[in-house]
């Protein structure tokens, strides 16, 4: 599955621990099930040897973890970053959210991560999962062993991968890739072509499933405020009883709006959503609008970039023009 082997990552981590470059390692370890790979901090070579995991379920983006982790000691933290994670890493550095001196970033190439829900569509009795070359072998309770091509199981954000190129690292393992010409805005464009009633129906269906667990906020590398507007008991979104779906609309509009120009489209929000709401479609709408109205902008691609929402031009489009702009293509 992943081109680069677990042993290479482990050896790199052990070497850097041994020569004192870093004193802890941010990596992935096994969860309760094979597909529940979870972020963890490793302090010794033994822990790494025993628990470190690197496979098609290492989707977690570690950039946000650095905000808290770099405050915990004087030593450096080793962090493994996939190409898409490096954009968030750059964006957080641009916002001065952590100390670059306390991080040793190792870039790892990525062939895309697996979406377990696509496996669960094939079978509902997953026992364990192995990766064998280009195939994912699923051992099940009732359906025997299934061998599925990994390519067909990739999560949406990996199918529409925006970049296989690392934009920040101290050291790179393996080969660096290129920025991809992905069709990630196709789905947004499809929605824009619908009538307002169809769009309302679509989003009503999606957003009314929201259980306000706040997982999308908690995982988002752009959401790093210590005091969040959604934690304010005076705010109109804190109250949980869902009388109708206003609260979810409010929450998701504001959540997406707060990361405008800072969202790197890493897709973590959709990955963690327990209700499978396509939250990335809200973020991508803003990114697409910014690209079309204020010029192409990819958050995190360049360190120190100024986001379009905190900038202006004298001849910007009027809000009415911005809204009516799509009509001629409809």
């Amino acid at each position: 599955m992943q081109e680069i082997k677990r042993e290479i990552l482990i050896n790199k981590a052990k070497d850097l621990l041994a020569d004192g470059t870093v004193d802890r390692v941010l990596g992935w370890k096994a969860g309760e099930f094979d597909y529940d790979v979870t972020p963890a901090v490793f302090n010794s070579a033994d822990e790494i040897e025993g628990d470190f995991v690197w496979n098609g379920f290492c989707g977690a983006n570690f950039s946000k973890y650095l905000v808290k982790e770099t405050l915990k000691g004087d030593g450096k933290v080793l962090v493994f970053l996939k190409p898409c994670d490096t954009y968030s890493f750059n964006q957080l550095l641009t916002e001065h959210r952590f100390d670059r001196e306390k991080v040793y970033a190792v870039g790892v190439p990525c062939n895309g991560m697996v979406d377990v829900n696509k496996i669960k569509e094939e079978t509902d009795s997953v026992v364990s999962i192995d990766f064998d070359g280009g195939n994912t072998v699923v051992h099940t309770l009732y359906d025997g062993d299934l061998s599925l091509p990994t390519e067909k199981l990739l999560s949406e954000r990996c199918v529409n991968c925006k970049s296989k190129k690392h934009v920040a690292y101290d050291e790179l393992l393996g080969e660096d890739g290129e920025v991809c010409d992905s069709g990630r805005f196709d789905e947004v464009a499809r929605l824009e072509k619908m009538t307002p009633d169809e769009r309302f129906e679509f989003w009503q269906n999606e957003l009314s499933r929201c259980i306000r667990c706040n997982a999308c906020r908690d995982v988002c590398p752009a959401c790093t405020c210590e005091k969040c507007v959604f934690d304010n008991p005076e705010s109109p979104v804190e109250n949980k009883a869902p009388a109708n779906s206003f609260e979810e609309k409010m929450f998701h509009i504001i959540r997406a709006f707060h990361v405008v120009g800072r969202c790197t489209d890493c897709g973590e929000c959709s990955r963690v959503c327990p209700q499978h709401i396509p939250l990335h479609l809200l973020n991508r709408k803003f990114i697409k609008d910014i690209d079309e109205l204020y010029g192409e902008y990819q958050a995190g691609s360049v360190l120190g970039n100024r986001a379009p929402i905190v900038d202006y031009k004298l001849d910007d489009a009027e809000p009415s023009e911005a809204v009516e702009r799509g009509d001629e293509n409809a």
Partner: protein
């Protein structure tokens, strides 16, 4: 016989330096605009957080209009330029979610444009009245 004619509730955020004075001028000139418009004075149009707009809808507004100084004339030099970008993105998002686009509007009204203020409000109220009650961004808990 009682006639239950539908009257929309319109919230107008007006900047202190231009549009609020424009509303004053409309009054002084005895220009008519519907009493359904409730004006909220803000120091600058860029004071308006996207949350204010959603919250106005939640609390029963049928339309929200934001008025500020003409671009280039902001009392604070550049506030309304930021408003313009923010509201372009927010209104485009509301449209994407299927909320009627006639319910939101940004209009630049100077302190000398009393007539424009009255005309804008008349037009906006007429459009929102035609749409009827705000159903897509209502909160049942806030209904009287």
């Amino acid at each position: 016989m009682q006639v239950n004619e539908y009257k929309p509730l319109i919230v107008a955020f007006c900047c202190n330096w231009c549009s609020y004075a424009g509303a004053d001028l409309a009054g002084n000139n005895r220009l008519n605009y519907p009493a359904d418009v409730k004006i909220i004075r803000v120091p600058c149009s860029c004071r308006v957080n996207p949350m204010f707009i959603l919250r106005a809808f939640q609390r029963g507004a049928d339309g929200v209009i934001l008025c500020g100084c003409h671009p280039g004339d902001c009392h604070y030099t550049s506030g309304n330029y930021y408003t313009r970008r923010r509201m372009s993105l927010l209104f485009s998002m509301l449209d994407y979610l299927g909320i009627e686009r006639e319910r939101t509007r940004v209009e630049w009204v100077s302190a000398a444009e009393g007539a424009k203020f009255a005309a804008t409000m008349n037009d906006f109220v007429e459009k929102v009245t035609a749409l009827g009650e705000n159903k897509r961004l209502e909160d049942l808990r806030c209904k009287k």
